[in-house]
């Protein structure tokens, strides 16, 4: 049974809607653990309010944040999956359908960067990254609406043959620049190497990774661990009003490059909007989170 236009369209809409209303389980667990560790009284209270907001959103099926962001999808196509219909159009139509039917309605956040006019649609929307998985008989769709709070503070700089010290110092520079403004505690994605676009994509993709799943490469796992300690030593704290918890996780990834090495750093705010599911060739829909 091939994977149809209708199935992809429905899933694209469903994943977006779900990401607005539910905070991933790993993120809630990380917030609870942070609350238990936190020594700053005000920060303890802010973390409790965050967990309360997450719970209330689930109970009432409401949005956690009023800024539904812009639709960002990451689609992985399995080469053994049989496709029936226009998959790219299905994702686009899925979002358009959602805008027309979702309750409560979305605010208009899709912005024409040349005029700053806002609406529900625009050039190249939704923003989709495509990847191919050899041999897989499924399509995987991941959704991560991005809004100003965390999207605004991403940065990239290109170095020549940098040391790990230089890379880590740059990450810290971007963290301090974002300061209190990105709705901390955040999930930080770091992409190292490849090329300009590859580094950015690695960083972005790293934020999708579950909290508590370090990079399998020991060098990067160690970097993630020490950067998390370093970020939390800054003291910005939850909502940037002080505390020990500025980040819930730092996720790093890399690609080989030329020696000119782009380093990309991006953030996902504390609500960590992120959903993912697979459409299998046999008609199954597997919700991964």
């Amino acid at each position: 049974m091939p994977i149809t236009y209708d199935a992809v369209k429905a899933l694209a809409a469903e994943l977006y809607s779900a990401s607005l209303r539910r905070i991933p389980e790993d993120t809630k667990a990380a917030l609870r653990a942070a609350r238990a560790r936190e020594t700053h009284e005000g920060a303890q209270r802010v973390l409790e309010i965050m967990l309360g907001s997450a719970l209330r959103a689930e109970q009432t099926d409401r949005f956690v944040c009023s800024d539904a962001g812009v639709p960002v999808y990451h689609v992985t196509l399995g080469t053994a999956a049989r496709l029936d219909g226009d998959i790219k159009r299905a994702v686009r139509d899925g979002f358009a359908d959602l805008v027309a039917t979702i309750t409560p309605p979305l605010l208009k956040h899709v912005t024409n960067p040349l005029t700053n006019e806002r609406g529900y649609a625009g050039k190249d929307m939704p923003l989709i990254t495509w990847e191919v998985e050899d041999g897989a008989d499924w399509i995987e769709i991941a959704c991560q609406p991005k809004a100003l709070g965390s999207g605004r503070w991403a940065a990239l700089e290109t170095f020549s043959f940098p040391t790990l010290a230089q890379i880590e110092e740059y990450v810290m520079r971007v963290v301090v620049q974002a300061g209190s403004q990105h709705c901390p505690p955040v999930i930080i994605g770091v992409g190292i190497g490849g090329s300009f676009d590859v580094a950015a994509r690695l960083a972005s993709k790293a934020t999708y990774r579950k909290i508590g799943s370090p990079n399998p490469e020991p060098t990067l796992a160690a970097m993630e661990e020490r950067l998390l300690r370093a970020v939390n030593a800054t003291g910005f704290g939850p909502m940037g009003t002080g505390g020990d918890t500025t980040a819930l996780a730092v996720h790093c990834d890399y690609a080989a490059g030329h020696g000119y090495t782009p380093v990309a750093v991006c953030f996902n705010c504390w609500i960590n909007r992120r959903t993912r599911a697979r459409l299998h060739d046999d008609g199954r829909v597997e919700h991964m989170e």
Binding site: R56, R62, S66, P105, E168, M172, G179, S180, G240, T241
Partner: protein
Amino acid sequence: MRTLRMPMSREDARSLRAGDMILLDGEIVITAGLPTHHRILECIERGEEPPITLRDGSLLHLGSYSRDTPEGGLEVLYMNPTTSTRFKPLMPRLIRHFGLTAVGGKGGLDRACADAMREVGCVYLSFLGGGAPLHSAAIRAVREVAWNDLVAHYRLVRLAVEGLGPVTVGIDAHGNSLFETLSAQAQARMPAILEGLARDRAAGAPDHA
């Protein structure tokens, strides 16, 4: 936890200290729009009042989805803060001109704003980002919506709220700013943080490195 009446009296504003957490009852004026701020400034330039009075009141960087009800009223479906820092060049003039007693949103404002706030007796209130379910539940009534030609979250909206918060006083009326203090603290800590990273790298370096 103290519950303060909105619009906040200047006396209440001056009684608060950066870091305090409070709840809000009463009426607030909100917008999340940069074009809205520009329109308010145009009103000032022309010597006119904006369609919703801001005099001695609040201007909070909260975005809302408001719509007409079948009964001819208005309802707000949800509300949440936006990042205040993008409004910072415009805020000192608005704070001084209207004698605002409370501004707010998330992410804070800068020193120029904090100076204006100290002069007039005004506080910055930090709302929970991702707090839409909580903030929205505190709305009791929509009093006024102005500039309906703008997208919903840019409109100027006057709301009645009860138990809104808790919010953190991010900048008090005495010139103390958590945002400034924390940013300076992070900068000051950076040499030690970088040394710590270097130590960790040396300790954890694989043998073949």
